[in-house]
Amino acid sequence: MKRGEALLGCAGAAGAFAVCETLSRTGLVPSADLPPASEVLARAVELGGQAAFLDGVAATLQAWAGGLGLACALAVPLGLLLGSVPAANTAARVLIEFLRPVPSVALIPLVSLLLGSGTATTVTLVTYAAVWPILFNTVYGMGETDPVAKDTLRAFGFGRFAVVLRVALPSAAPFIAAGIRISAATALILAVATEILAGFGEGLGIFVAQAGTATDGTRDVLAGVVWAGLLGLVINSLLVGAERRLFPWTPDHRARRA
């Protein structure tokens, strides 16, 4: 991000902050419904010092990472297969088009029923939600492989399998990484949402759910939401940074350097 963009981003956040603060302080919105932004922020900082809360965040992140990792392990090889064997792609198309529109959040009750309300449920749902962007981006990226690059490798005597591993996979890698970044955000939503609906155990979503039932818990709910947003922001910037470092040859990133 360029300096100017960063400044504008900060200005936008500060503006939203000021609006919330004013709405609450002037009594336009009852402060029980919307506590002043400064109080929410102070509470969020305070939570950062509490071991129990941090343990919950760690539990959520663990389920998030486990689900995302599992999704990568499933979706990338499957994407390579579908992207390189047209018959497999055709065979899988109907099933995928059927499963894809099912909102993962709608599966929370079903999976909870089957697996109970624990880490297994969260990881399963996170995995399910995270598989799709990675899978589609892998298949799409494989389709974008330059035929000249493939011919080059073939002309040096490499077979089909080597072409997939040495050309199609690396040239699809930037697409796969973008898919993982999209999945990472969805996975975080699913991790927190599953916890909120499950309602007990340990996690950021549990904290939010329990605060929601407490009298005067709005401030805690919002502080929990601030934490969720912050996690999403940090994860996204880390992944964007990693993409820029790993794939410096993509036109996008090259233009940035110049």
Partner: protein
């Protein structure tokens, strides 16, 4: 008796149900000869080269290399395409690009790097091994592609308009580099170009391919001294005469575009 390494026998091709692209191509190339294949764009030069490389299976006729029919990509083949930026792998360093073909020969890492360094030195790029192709100029990238094509010590080098995308000065430098490597290495080369001057300057023999469907219209020996010079050779009367003859074959009287 000279060995006839490459033999193209009654070769014809069409893509699917399209019109014939090549018809009854007959061509024999002795060991160590540098044959230039010249003709207007779309006359089937690349198709012919792909058939020789085993990348495209001809609809009719056959290609034999050292007496062996080409029904897959032959061993000991080097290929240079026009589009170096698409043919070099941007995710690999220059060194790894050059040493890639050597993987097929089961050479260890250290040996591959040694060979790559040697080839890079040959093409005047010593010390660039750790850079990435996209950090180099177009001329340097095509030198890398040439080093890669020669790394596995091919018996046959196929080049498809390799210098077509380069500026005049760089192109002349690379023509001279190719001539030097050819003289020193004694390899057999099939060099496709649409540039009449280049076909005469580089070739031991010029084969003119005419369109509709592609067929051999002329097959002319180049009687110029083997060691050539961009200025002196091009000024020789033999050069101008042959260039005119190739020009007439490429563009017979009456078909010249205004």
């Amino acid at each position: 008796m000279t060995a006839h390494m490459l033999h193209i026998d009654h070769l014809g091709h069409r893509y699917g149900v399209g019109p014939p692209v090549l018809a009854d191509i007959q061509l024999t190339v002795p060991d160590g000869q540098l044959v230039t294949l010249v003709g207007p764009s779309g006359c089937g030069k690349s198709t012919l080269l792909r058939c020789v490389a085993g990348l495209t299976r001809p609809a009719e006729g056959r290609v034999t290399l050292d007496g062996e029919p080409v029904d897959r990509v032959p061993d000991r083949l080097g290929v240079v395409f026009q589009d170096y930026s698409r043919s070099l792998f941007p995710w690999l360093t220059v060194r790894d690009n050059v040493s890639l073909p050597l993987r097929r020969q089961g050479l260890g890492r250290a040996r591959r790097h040694e060979e790559a360094a040697l080839m890079l030195e040959q093409v005047g790029l010593a010390g660039t091994g750790k850079q990435h192709p996209w950090q180099l100029s177009g001329g340097m990238q095509q030198r890398v592609a040439l080093a890669r094509a020669l790394a596995a010590r091919p018996a046959l080098l196929l080049m498809d308009e390799p210098f077509g995308a380069l500026d005049a000065q760089t192109r002349e430098d690379l023509e001279d580099l190719l001539l030097r490597l050819h003289r020193e290495g004694g390899l057999t080369v099939l060099f496709v170009t649409h540039d009449i001057d280049e076909s005469v300057y580089v070739g031991d023999r010029v084969v003119v391919l005419a369109p509709g469907p592609g067929h051999v219209r002329a097959d002319l020996p180049v009687e110029l001294p083997p060691v050539r010079d961009q200025i002196a050779t091009r000024a020789l009367p033999e050069f101008t005469e042959l260039r005119a003859e190739v020009g007439r074959a490429v563009r017979p009287a009456g078909t010249a575009t205004p």
